[in-house]
Symmetry: D2
């Protein structure tokens, strides 16, 4: 068996982790996994499932995306109805509410395989999750939400976090599959709670990134050295993930996008989308989110100024702009 | 000398620090230390200096506060001019800009002892620090800023963080004294940078506390369990000091004021004061602080609703209020 | 003809206006008008149409609301399909998106009378307007949006403003009918533009009401007399409808709800609903609305504090609260 | 006496006001008026006083500004002490708190003429007004605040609004002088109330300008014609001075700066300064001003983006920016 080679090769730590992970496919029985949506994230996720030994059944509107997976051994479909019927699990990784809704309608137009578990890893409205769950369960199959965090690098390295909403049984059922794509598989509660957790976390992330940008900028304009101030804040009560691991000021956290002109990372477009979904659920639940709502508008203003494709930490540069000082 | 033992014993770094602290009353030469402002914080700080073996010269408008220190061995003064002249170091710990300014004027009305180093540990405007530094240096003595974080418990247990602004030499001079009252003595840069660091940190703290409150509330209203969601956020990108160590939702962080009806801790009044100072320096430096400014207004609204004396995490309760849902 | 009596009776100005208005029914041919939704607003609107000489065909889930209209001469229906088929115009005046959508589905379940013009006067999402227009036009009839402003008094006195979205021809067709319920019938553009205009106007209204409250409060706390300051602002650049005609400070505008403990008027619940719809269209069009979004959150906080039923000018009282000053 | 003609001619009230103004140089006894600060506003104001027949005693740090006034008949001084002693009234029109404070110190360094009334028309902190009033009254003269609105055109055409803080007697004393420079002389209350009124009005102005920009932008992005929407809002509850007379969208109000690339008018720099003063008094009085504070930060962001010199209605262009849509 190929996997035995592992221990006879001089491997790096990273390689051995990948191999150890790969070996777990012995534990996980090979499954038929459908995958719809082979974009920046989905392509890597599907590839990782192949590495785990699963049989992949894939669909995407991009021929090239399909060809990439085909080259790795996946079966490509034109019709998602067939794809779904051949799958133990179907994972959807799509851009927005409308496309997700349409995908599930198309895929189940002539009924479902009652053994299929549908897993949506897109980021969508938690209410749509509950509608989809009802829709699929009425047809006789199961549906859960399992949105991710960790971005493209997490998808590539199979280190995503999955936030799962469903019954505990369903969680236990899908966990081994999701472990092929991520390192933390969190149980959040019933249907929609995965999305709810993701949206609330990302709202907090947006707030603390903008807050960090304001505090760093204010410190620097008063004459503090950015590294000295970052050290102070990170060992004090102002500390947050953004200040510690993803500092928006160039030169403070070497690996952060701020050091490469805010390229890559988590785009302003995506955080704005998530804040829009969070604002929607806040309206539906009458929850006051003053800082969340203002953060949403700030990111929307950045989009209006052409920064949608930049990493969301570019808000620091937008605010520090000193054209007139 | 006792200190030598430290290095001949097989001690861990942590142990050696403890020993240094324990023995430091012998290590640090006893000094004459003036202390003005013996309130909730200052009283404990002055007591800790006595424990370190220093001779304390104290002043406060409250007779009782003076009596407390007298009982511990301090000399009480009616006139701060005499106090200052008898002191190697004078530490001021006072409520606001105006009182600090008046204290320094009174204290130096008939000149200074040129060997005295004045240390202001109050929280004041960084610009006032620079005015005071100029004022004192023109009289021939030295002045630095060293505001603190850590609150009343930190003052009591001598675990405060001091953020020092001055020359590096001045920092080295005052460090042994400050170590008698705190565990982290951070060098922030020139005059005023201690205050600047403190204000920026506390602005970030206010933003992340309100953000945490919004995110927790939104998660809970959607049906997430607060402990589950806190665990998710704390192992993800939304993590911050407030979510991890001081969660505003009762039952999540056992030691947090949220579990005792928001009593004690860091009051809404104090964070509002700090946000006011931060807003002032932001205006002076033309720095946009949208979330900082909104947080300031939110805390001001809490004060208007009678919550000024509560811990600042009470913002969660203020926003979750469900009278009408 | 009864109307001639008008000029032989000693009439007040208000009476004569009503009679003049009533006389215009000679110009407007009597029509069969369906009315669905006989609530606080709809009941008065339907009554006014009866006064104009139209034949009313009505439906509401409240038996009492139906009975009231029956007593005035309306025909009451259990099934809206029949109501719609018997009507030249159908007016819907319902609480929210979902109820409107369901009403149109029910009403047209077995087809439409192709001569009927459907007029929705509810406040809903402009996108739903466009869906409904498509839905109805595919069935062969016409649909326009015509939301109102003016509140319950405007509905009662037939002084509403209607903001109409549709073709210019459709506008001209419905104008005579709407004139029986309002005094300004504004053409806003194509389908959905009536709703768009209403939502943008009401967002501006919310912002200026909160702004007026802040400015009045800040003026008063500095020692200005509220009437003196209102006079200054109203003859200067800070002037707005809220400061002039609906001042949130008791004693300034005698007719405003602020003088009767913020009872009646335009409720916090309703403006919050409109701000939620405005926030939705802002998200859909990527439009930054920082003050609009913050106003939404402020009103949501008022709801959370039990003020949902109060007039929206109660935001002044909420912010002036001086419990802790 | 010429003035009598006014009342014997069949004139309208407006005509008689014009005549009174035209002839007032004869009606108001000629006074010695000191004027310090001959900038964009002050230069015109001083010129208008000369036209009224007053003897002007002027000072400015710019030689050219002084020469301009000299050419019109003013006496130029190098020392403000002499200027003040020769004046019945001294008007100061200076850029900020610090310069005003220094000007009054310099001017009164060797005492005051006890008959002089000092009038500060600068925009400064109301607390500084009270300090100056105390300072001048202790020296034996009188001091009042009389800030203006109306901008450079108002200064040029003598149509400014003056907001006066002082005793009613002082108001009556200075009114005839101020009428030579403005058309509305408003009594606001005691010392500082003129400034308080101005700051609160301008905060409201900033809020409603940003609100108008948001509402117009949101309407336009949904497809409404800007002129149609402006007409709707201006005859409805969203109406404000900014929407009616100074619309930020080009093409709506022909005379507004939006039609000339936001040149001239009331600069972003100046409204930001006024919002900074308003924020300061709000902090001092514990007044929540969420929309005012956010407006301040938005204008500060515009400054950071190089728009400080543009008219403050440029906020519309800043927010509508569609680089990324």
């Amino acid at each position: 068996m190929a996997l035995r080679i592992v221990f006879t090769m001089p491997v790096t730590k990273a390689m051995s982790q990948t191999l150890v992970r790969a070996m777990s496919s012995q534990a996980v029985a090979s499954k038929n996994v459908g995958f719809i949506g082979l974009g920046n994230m989905g392509g890597h996720m599907a590839s990782n499932l192949i590495k785990q030994g699963h049989k992949l059944h894939v669909f995407d509107i991009s021929k090239q995306a399909c060809d990439n997976l085909k080259a790795k051994g996946a079966t490509v479909y034109d019709k998602t109805t067939d794809l779904a019927k051949n799958s133990d699990y179907v994972i959807t990784m799509l851009p927005n509410n409308d496309i997700v809704w349409k995908a599930y309608n198309d895929m189940t137009a002539d009924g479902v395989n009652k053994n299929t578990v549908f897993i949506d890893s897109s980021t969508i409205d938690p209410n749509l999750v509950r509608e989809l769950q009802k829709f699929i369960s009425e047809k006789g199959a199961r549906f859960i939400d399992a949105p991710v965090s960790g971005g493209v690098p997490g998808a590539e390295q199979a280190t995503l976090t999955f936030m799962v909403g469903g019954t505990k049984d369903e969680y236990n059922t899908v966990k081994p599959i999701l472990e092929g794509m991520g390192k933390r598989i969190t149980y959040c509660g019933s249907y929609g709670m995965g999305q709810a957790a993701k949206l609330c976390n990302n709202m907090m992330l947006a707030i603390s990134m903008i807050g960090t940008s304001e505090a760093m900028n204010l410190a620097i304009r008063q004459g503090l050295d950015p590294n000295v101030f970052a050290e102070i804040i990170n060992s004090s009560t102002g500390r947050c993930w953004s200040s510690e691991l993803y500092n928006p000021v160039p030169g403070v956290t070497p690996t952060a996008p701020s050091n490469r002109d805010y390229a890559g990372g988590f785009s302003t477009d995506l955080i704005t989308k998530d804040l829009g979904l969070a604002a929607g659920v806040a309206t539906a639940t009458n929850t006051p989110i003053p800082l969340g709502a203002l953060s949403h508008q700030i990111y929307r203003t950045l989009k209006a100024h052409g920064l949608g494709n930049k990493d969301f930490s570019v808000v620091y540069e937008f605010m520090k702009n000193e054209a007139n000082n």
